[in-house]
Subunit: 252 residues, 2 copies
């Protein structure tokens, strides 16, 4: 019960939040009880699901003020719950410095509710600081979205090195679920080059599903919905539904 | 002499590095002696200018091991020098915690070389941690690139609040040079909505120049060049040259 998946990449703007929201929503539609935990002080996953008013957030859990169960709120989508974030989380990086076992704060918190869900998705911020390390220490596996553009490949080695480091020193069960090619625009020569390079290098597990650049994907969060609920016929919705199916099939 | 401009926004993937490289290159072409300091552990500004082999980096300066002047290297472009970064900078966030006046490490370092340049550009990472605070404490002004998409507006208030905080407590001279609308795709309904909202809100100074989404901009860093040197006739090159001219005109 309760497989925990971190969506991580220290490169900014590669589709982490978009993937976290739309994968979580697709899993919920496929009748899996799903929790999305927003681990980014920008709180884009919270805002992208239309959730902006809440008393407590993941910050309060990380500094030990409250239990994870008491910050979880429903979303407009059945089977999908959210643990929201706030900008205060920026401060937690400093506050956690003196904590005992500071890398395991989240994994201890998640254990208390893990069996209530089929899947728990963690949306990570674009950095490799102590909050992201907490997410990697708590996760069973990591999905790494990359944009099919040049800077995408520069940071990939560093991220996989960090994942290996976390696996060796903090969380031996951690694996890479796969690399997700996102915001793919087949008209760009470069996009095809990046896809070929990643797939042919043989160094990484790459999802067959590719997420295409699609306006509906970028519009959906404006109305606080996943792209599946916003426009199920869109390319973006179809891409994320097939990602969820491929992901579930890989679990067996 | 030596005006210092930070390119900052905690939202990831909005064009900070692309703006840092191409504004610095345009200023250099307009005969201004320019230094680009890469303050991001991803080191995309360094890689994007084709500079990958170096002994020391901004990390060594931030932890007090070496002088800023000794890490500055030439680029392929005349009038443009670079202070490169490495992933070690991730560790500096923690190492700086116990430093005296930890927010002023960079501004003290920059004072020693400031008069050798007309402009010094700081490429910031997508977070509001101590490294970005160092950049804001050292800067005379900030350029805030935003993508013309939905999450762009969510974090803007938080960034301007942080800038005000730094201005009040650390750096009274700090101003906002302007908001730069980047990766603009006029075919997207949403892009036009974001532009109208930002311009009409009256809350922000917005550059007249808009940077359009343009393939050449994304291709140029693959060959270690600015877009101006890669293809001067491209829309991207024209956009960044006109940004540099507008920026220089605003200085008078
Ligand atoms: N498939 C897609 N098609 C079109 N636009 C997309 C797609 N995926 C993401 N976007 C847009 O690109 C921008 C960046 O995506 P997103 O915010 O999900 O990235 P991120 O990696 O979470 O960013 P950060 O590093 O700031 O957390 C957003 O404006 C989003 O709407
Ligand atoms: N005007 C543009 N046209 C086309 N592509 C662009 C443009 N500006 C930026 N890009 C591409 O978008 C991606 C994100 O840009 P960039 O890396 O400059 O953002 P950033 O804000 O520095 O990201 P980070 O938050 O990770 O530091 C890059 O792959 C870049 O090549
Ligand atoms: Mg995000
Ligand atoms: Mg950058």
């Amino acid at each position: 019960m309760g497989k925990i998946i971190a969506i991580a990449n220290q490169k900014g703007g590669v589709g982490k939040t978009t993937t976290a929201i739309n994968l979580a929503s697709s899993l919920a539609i496929l009748d899996k009880k799903t929790l999305l935990i927003d681990m980014d002080p920008q709180a884009n996953a919270s805002g992208g699901l239309g959730i902006t008013e809440y008393e407590e957030s993941i910050y309060d859990v990380m500094v030990g003020e409250t239990e994870l169960s008491s910050i979880i709120v429903p979303t407009n989508e059945s089977n999908l719950m959210l643990a929201p974030s706030t900008i205060d989380l920026v401060g937690a990086e400093i506050e956690l410095i003196d904590f005992d076992e500071r890398e395991f704060v989240l994994s201890k918190a998640v254990k208390t509710i893990k069996d209530d869900y089929d899947y728990i998705i963690l949306d990570c911020q674009p950095s490799l600081g102590i909050i992201t390390v907490n997410a990697l220490a708590a996760a069973d596996s990591v999905i790494i979205p990359i944009q099919c553009e040049v800077f995408a490949l520069q940071g990939l080695n560093k991220l996989t090195e960090t994942i290996e480091l976390v696996k060796d020193s903090l969380n031996p069960k951690l694996t890479i679920e796969g690399i997700l090619l996102s915001m793919f625009d087949q008209r760009l020569r470069m996009a095809n080059m990046v896809v070929d390079e990643i797939k042919n290098s043989g160094n990484y597990k790459v999802f067959d599903t590719i997420i295409h650049r699609n306006t509906k994907v970028a519009e959906a969060p404006m109305v606080g919905q996943s792209v599946i609920h916003y426009d199920v016929k869109s390319t973006g919705a179809q891409n994320y539904l097939s990602l969820a199916s491929e992901f579930i099939a890989n679990q067996n």
